[in-house]
Symmetry: C2
Subunit: 116 residues, 2 copies
């Protein structure tokens, strides 16, 4: 190993933070994961739940999440073809992170967003 970086150092933390942001960055990734945490969903269902995401962005972000092994895409040969998206184990492993994310989002809203 060339220049191993210890787990406790600030440098190590900076790299781990960058890694996580690379996958979760952007306006739609977290919302999509939140939506799928609620249960497997179809394209249209996710779109309606998130509300104002265009099919282009949804399609694009779902592909990116699939490439990063966060979700899987399953095509069902039903009458109008349906596609179901679900979280992989890796996707589900964001649960604790998501929980803290939501807790902090709520805290922040109460502290700041509400007073402006």
């Amino acid at each position: 190993m060339a220049k191993a970086i210890k787990k406790e150092t600030c440098q190590y933390r900076l790299i781990a933070g960058k890694d996580a942001m690379e996958v979760l960055q952007g306006k739609w990734r977290i919302p999509i994961i939140i939506s799928l945490t609620d249960g497997d969903k179809r394209f249209g269902e996710i779109q309606r739940e998130i509300g104002n995401i265009s099919p282009k962005m949804l399609s694009q972000e779902l592909k990116a999440l699939e490439e990063n092994k966060i979700i899987t895409r399953t095509l069902y040969d039903s009458m109008p073809v349906t596609v179901e998206y679900s979280l992989t184990p890796l996707g589900r492993s964001t649960d604790k992170l998501l929980e803290e994310f939501l807790k902090w989002g709520t805290h922040f809203r109460n502290e700041i967003v509400g007073n402006r």
Copy 2:
């Protein structure tokens, strides 16, 4: 209250997630917070620690974090003027979130980033 949204619903979670992302979004916010978690720092120290951030971006993001009450700026009337940045209680309240962020970032790196 008009149409209260229950804490458990997917809609509530989507809003909290959006709130959190509003503050933490971008390439540099999380790294800056990580850097300051390590202790109060001066402009140049943060810049050297993060490594490749330009003074323009650092200045801009520090201002944004200050506006959101995540950090404070203190000017010291020393011989070359120094400025110290530190986390506010609200800023420090990201510690659990940050921890999960870093845990997951490491997990993700081991699962995916390492294998590509």
